[in-house]
């Protein structure tokens, strides 16, 4: 889901993971050379552990939140809130969107081709050849090389051998959450080129704007969230060789700001 137009009053970082993601993003924005390893050293955490925590593949313990929270100079009250919230079994769909936004910020990867490169590595037909990647994605060679540099620096891409590149960016559910608004806009252009091509791979692209009751909106959001989980499970169960990279976009968000009281 890509609900970037939010009217929820929830704080922007109601989960500790987002705090770390945003802090990493700020440091990367200040210093383009800043790396995940440098952040891990600052926090006194093993870098692979930090990578798993940021990608949602590992849960925070209370001790970790307390230790890291102090390192980031968070107040004791805020640390306590994060410890309590991390114990909650489920997230609301709006907080999931916030998590996605901060993940985007943490990755500092607004261009869609970063994610596409990672997904390409999962294809049986993948070639560790920048010229091939450039042609398949229709992205200039230099842009592919810059993306590879960023991905390697952030520990998201592992060029393990001359024939094997590994996407280290997360499980299927995390991968569904990875696109930013800018990336989506760029992919819309790509969709116009590829969707509907005669003899092309199966594709679907549709959108509508509807007026609904808020209660109906919540039910629809729950159905979309359920669908998102089902897709994630399907991706996790998928076996065999992969032979195509798709963009999966789930979007359901209000387009009218009805909170203003101005006449």
């Amino acid at each position: 889901m890509k609900a970037h137009v939010l009217t929820d009053a929830a704080p922007p970082s109601d989960r500790f993971r987002r705090v770390l993601q945003e802090e990493l993003a700020r440091r990367c924005a200040r210093n383009p050379r800043y790396s995940l390893r440098a952040f891990a050293r600052y926090l006194s955490i093993d870098h692979s552990t930090l990578s798993q925590l940021l990608r949602g593949r590992r849960r925070f313990t209370s001790r970790t939140i307390e230790r890291v929270g102090k390192r980031l100079s968070l107040s004791p009250d805020m640390i306590t809130q994060f410890v309590d919230r991390e114990r909650e079994p489920t997230e609301s769909w709006t907080s999931r969107e916030l998590r996605q936004l901060s993940r985007d910020a943490a990755l500092s990867l607004a261009e869609w081709h970063h994610h596409a490169i990672l997904e390409l590595t999962r294809l049986a037909s993948f070639k560790p050849d920048v010229r091939w990647i450039s042609r398949v994605l229709d992205v200039p060679v230099d842009d592919v090389n810059m993306a590879i540099t960023r991905l390697a620096r952030l520990g998201l891409l592992d060029m393990r051998s001359r024939t094997t590149w590994v996407d280290a960016a997360g499980n299927a559910e995390a991968r569904i959450d990875t696109l930013s608004v800018r990336a989506i806009s760029a992919l819309a252009g790509r969709a116009r080129t590829l969707v509907g091509m005669q003899g092309g791979p199966p594709a679907h692209y549709s959108a509508t704007t509807v007026a609904v009751k808020t209660t109906t909106g919540r039910r629809i959001a729950e159905r979309v969230e359920q669908f998102r989980r089902e897709i994630a499970e399907l991706l996790e169960r998928e076996g065999g060789d992969r032979d195509q990279v798709y963009c999966l976009e789930l979007a359901f968000f209000p387009v009218a700001d009805l909170t203003t009281t101005e006449s």
């Binding site: 560790p128 010229r131 060679v141 230099d142 090389n145 810059m146 051998s161 001359r162 024939t163």
Partner: protein, 121 residues
Amino acid sequence: MGQPVMQWQILARDPDKLTAFYGKLFGWRVNADNPMGYRMVDTGSERGINGGVWPIGSEGHPLVQLFVEVTDVAACVAQAEQLGGQVLIPPQVLPDGDELAIVLDTEGLSLGLMKPRSVTV
């Protein structure tokens, strides 16, 4: 045996403009026909070392890096960290088989550690 500097690399915001400049100034030749599309620069001399140009985008910071040949990239990266350096890019194996990592020295200068595929320990 020593740890020689094997290559220089220029990180450039506009690689094509840069290579055109050096091509006209020094007669250096560029060849990007390799799996990374990497602009390898041949100075045309048997003396000195050759180099390459890597893209960094319009917002990057141009600089020159040196690439030092090592026999064990991972071990050298670990040693660099112990000595006060930082890892920028952990060891990666390039499509041509060369192994490469980028670290920062104590001045914050980036440095390439490379083990060519032809090197045997």
